[in-house]
């Protein structure tokens, strides 16, 4: 296990590259998972929502009513890109990569706006009785940007490309026997699994921005996909341009704009300047402090996402080896105060269990609230009165440093001294990533069981808490071999009960995503996926 962790940590090092929250490895990775689904499935869901933009909070544009119309150029000003940006369907790393991937490609299955599975290029994905073989039936009549029709061979080529090169989506296909993928006919693919894998669609959804389907012989320097926009130009770290795909398979809502221009901005200041001076119609990943300026010039889109920025306690290192200390730390948090101070009240209160939008999520677990007296008595029982700990924090996502400061203050009430050690995000995701004793992290939204596979199993690539509980591991293996959703949900609830009572995460809230869009842009709606701008759903946007 130590080896696995070292490896994961090493491979994370690249993320130091980024200039801000968006550049981090794991976090991007997670966001990835959330994003793909929308790309594919978003269209119909958006259509259902109508063309009017109904942001969950703050301003909504009254001009939104009316019939969507085609034409115009949409300028997206996004932060989070780097010089190693890509338009490759499977090699995205940062937020801006995902925006491009969603424009260019479609996965088999993605998310709808409520972060539920939604079929995209697949018409159906069905398991056999033991979940050892899955059969994917493709939507007929879909063509790539170069006119070639989508076939089973393209799916086999794409999945093989992902696994063979160990690209981002490979971990969701870990149990898939890619060597024996088979085309049953031109639109049907058989996916055999090495072990029972009842959660394959959920795992693929979670990585949808890594799972774009590309044609056989795909050349990433001339990227061709099935997505709502066709490739036109790309300069890494600077800008990329796309034109509307007039032959897009899903005609329910868009694509509308003639041209999409994505410009990279190095930081929020220049991004907001671009927005206010009218050079960018869309801006992503804003902090609460930019809201007044952006609101003065356009609209704010706040989405309550299901991604998370947990505090991570290493359960194999003192003082966190004692579950009473972990419980005490969770009881220290005044969660509403945290969202108030960090996001001005936006965001959703968390209960130390991840994946809140999963139908398998157990909403009956009582909400944990601050209880300083109980925390003190637990610490006393554990022999850890007047405990001093170091909390490693970095600017890895909106609000991470701020919430660490708030936690340190709240902990003082329980007699715990929290010394903050602020490092750069490069250092945070450098060689010590996954080794910090008490730190934070950032994850995009994923469904519950796929998230367990990523974070809380002994062989998980990003097990920050070093969680390795035999009963938990056994339950997980049982769950992914269970095809019946009701039975599987029951097992998932048992796992969540363990997470909630003795787990190594503190999940005080699920952070909101705050974006801005110009008054002339319509069709911008929030999503629970945790990616910006309705999971970069440029397809449904149109210009008044």
């Amino acid at each position: 296990m130590a080896d696995d962790l070292d490896r994961a940590a090493g491979s994370h090092a690249r993320h130091g590259a980024g200039t801000g929250p968006h550049s981090l490895g794991r976090r991007d990775f997670l966001r990835y998972t959330g994003m793909g689904a929308v790309a594919v499935g978003g269209a119909t869901a958006l259509a259902a929502c109508g063309s009017s933009s109904t942001p969950s909070s703050t301003s909504s544009s009254p001009a939104a009513a009316g019939k969507p119309k085609k034409g115009g150029t949409l300028h997206a000003g996004l932060t989070g890109g780097t010089g190693s940006d890509t338009v490759d369907a499977h090699r995205g790393v940062d937020n801006v990569d995902f925006a491009r991937i969603i424009a260019l490609y479609d996965p088999l299955i993605g998310y709808d706006l409520k972060a539920q599975n939604k079929l995209a290029l697949a018409e159906s994905i069905t398991p056999n009785a033991k979940a050892t073989v899955w059969t994917v039936r493709l939507r007929p009549g879909v063509t790539f940007h170069n006119g070639k029709p989508l076939t089973a061979e393209d799916v086999i080529y794409s999945l093989t490309r992902i696994v063979k090169n160990n690209y981002g989506g490979a971990s969701s296909l870990a149990s898939v026997d890619v060597k024996n993928l088979k085309a049953l006919d031109s639109l049907t693919v058989e996916i055999p699994c090495l072990t029972p894998y009842a959660t394959l669609p959920d795992a693929m959804t979670g990585y949808y921005y890594y799972m774009g389907i590309v044609p056989v012989g795909y050349d990433p320097t001339h990227p061709v996909g099935t997505g709502p926009f066709k490739f036109q130009s790309f300069t890494p770290g600077q800008q990329s341009t796309f034109v509307r795909n007039d032959h897009y398979w899903d005609t329910s809502d868009g694509p509308y704009v003639d041209t999409l221009v994505i410009t990279d901005y190095p930081d929020e200041t220049s991004q907001v300047n671009a927005f206010v001076s009218g050079q960018a119609d869309l801006v992503n990943l804003l902090s609460a402090t930019s809201i007044p300026q952006v609101q003065a010039a356009g609209n704010i889109l706040t989405a309550d996402g299901g991604g998370m920025t947990p505090f991570t306690m290493r359960v194999d290192q003192p003082p966190f080896t004692d579950p009473r200390v972990r419980q005490a730390f969770r009881l220290i948090c005044d969660r509403p105060q945290m969202t108030d101070l960090v996001f001005g009240g936006r965001g959703t209160i968390g209960n130390d269990v991840f994946s809140p939008f999963d139908p398998e999520f157990d909403h009956s677990i009582p909400q944990r609230t601050q209880d300083i007296a109980q925390a003190k008595s637990l610490l006393k029982a554990a022999g850890q009165e007047s405990l001093t700990v170091q909390l490693v924090t970095a600017d890895i996502a909106q609000g991470t440093i701020r919430v660490a400061q708030v936690f340190a203050q709240q902990a003082a009430a329980a007699g715990v001294t929290v010394n903050l050690r602020q490092v750069t995000s490069t250092e945070f995701y450098g060689n010590n990533y996954l080794k910090w004793n008490f730190a934070q992290d950032y994850w995009y939204y994923s469904k519950y069981l796929p998230q367990v596979a990523q974070a809380t199993l002994p062989n998980s690539p990003f097990n920050e808490t070093h969680w390795d509980n035999p009963a938990y591991n056994k339950l997980y293996n049982q769950a992914i071999a269970t095809v019946d959703p009701t039975a599987r949900t029951a097992i998932a609830h048992e796992l969540q009960a363990i997470d909630h009572s003795i787990g190594g995460y503190i999940i005080p809230y699920f952070p909101p995503t705050i974006d801005g869009y110009a008054k002339k842009v319509n069709g911008v709606v929030p999503t629970s996926v945790g990616l910006s701008l309705g999971a970069y759903n440029f397809k449904a946007m149109w210009l008044a």
């Binding site: 491979s11 090092a13 981090l24 490895g25 150029t73 190095p266 220049s270 001076s277 490069t426």
Partner: protein, 342 residues
């Protein structure tokens, strides 16, 4: 590295030994030779510094979730497993043969990535340098002839105030005034983009206005103050008084007699400010998202893209050295008494 010492200190001794050698040619030769040595040392320093960055290009390129074997394969391909000295020599010998290598971040050639940025930055520096010098010299002379009058005081106080502001603060003020808060007349950022791809800076001059203005505002006060002081000094000299007593027109006195003597120290200051521009563009390009080498350098560092970092820093160092030589030569040419071998 600054421009002052050599001609005065060395010229007499060298001139006597090498009396036939033209002092300007000699200066250019020795400075160029020294400059090359400096460049070599700089290249070693840059290489050493990039080795100290956490993480390497293989992990940077592959992303956080790459397997160890994929990282090893990439390291082999990029030669990152070789000793640092070998990596350095591979790079240096490549550069000497005109091969700048390929970007570790995205596999494109370093020249194709840095070349367009170089042009963009050059446009920025040249425009800012030209406008800043003309404005600084003009305002300096104007303030000198209006010495101790309200216009002079206003200019001097403003110059002092602006001097105390860092360039990114100036840049943000300009954006607030002209783009976002007070007026909305100019673009607040300058990414030089169009729907069909990247633009050349002259294709959208509006986007150049604020970045150039920010740099001009920063360099003008220094040039202005030096020009003002030098002009005042020249105007008080005996020969100017003589010229005046001879009944020459004030304009002629200023342009033909005072200016040539005031310009020499000012040239040194202009040179220093152009050198400053080479570094100042990093911040200004960042604020305006202007695709120049300053922004390229920031990105390259973030990506651990060592070939790109090395090339950009080398270009900046070469610019620095070249500008020093040019400044010295120009200063020599406007100072006749130093030009003659004694």
């Amino acid at each position: 590295m600054t421009a002052e010492a050599p001609p005065t200190a060395r010229a007499p001794a060298e001139a006597s030994a090498e009396s036939r050698r033209h002092p300007i040619a000699w200066l250019i030769w020795t400075r160029t030779a020294l400059g090359l040595v400096t460049l070599f040392v700089v290249s070693i320093l840059i290489f050493a510094a990039t080795q100290l960055l956490p993480g390497n290009a293989a992990t940077a390129v592959l992303g956080h979730n790459a397997s160890a074997s994929a990282v090893r394969t990439m390291e082999l391909r990029l030669g990152l497993n070789k000793p640092a000295a070998t990596q350095y020599w591979d790079w240096l010998s490549g550069v000497l043969q005109g091969r700048l290598g390929t970007s570790l971040a995205n596999g494109q050639s370093v020249w194709s990535l840095v070349g367009p940025r170089l042009l963009n930055s050059l446009v920025l520096v040249v425009l800012a340098g030209l406008i800043g010098s003309v404005l600084g010299v003009g305002l300096g002379m104007f303030a000198a002839i209006r010495r101790d009058k309200p216009a002079d005081h206003a200019l001097s106080v403003s110059a002092l105030a602006v001097t105390s502001l860092p360039e990114f603060v100036v840049a943000i003020f300009l954006v607030i005034i002209f783009s976002t808060v007070l007026f909305h007349v100019l673009p607040g950022v300058s990414p030089l983009e169009s729907t069909s791809g990247a633009l050349k800076p002259w294709q959208d001059p509006k986007e150049l206005v604020l970045p150039v203005a920010a740099l001009v505002v920063v360099i003008v006060p220094y040039i202005f103050r030096m020009m003002r002081a030098a002009t005042i000094e020249a105007m008080e000299s005996d020969y100017v008084e003589m010229a005046r007593l001879n009944g020459l027109s004030p304009v002629r006195v200023l342009l033909r007699h005072a200016l040539p003597n005031a310009i020499a120290p000012t040239v040194q200051v202009i040179g220093l400010n152009l050198l400053y521009l080479a570094g100042g563009i990093v911040l200004v390009e960042f604020v305006f998202d202007y695709p120049g080498i300053g922004q390229g350098l920031v990105n390259a560092v973030a990506d651990r893209d060592i070939p790109q970092i090395q090339f950009i820093v080398l270009v900046l160092a070469a610019f620095y050295i070249a500008m020093n030589i040019v400044t010295d030569v120009v200063a020599l040419m406007v100072t006749p008494r130093r030009r003659v071998a004694r």
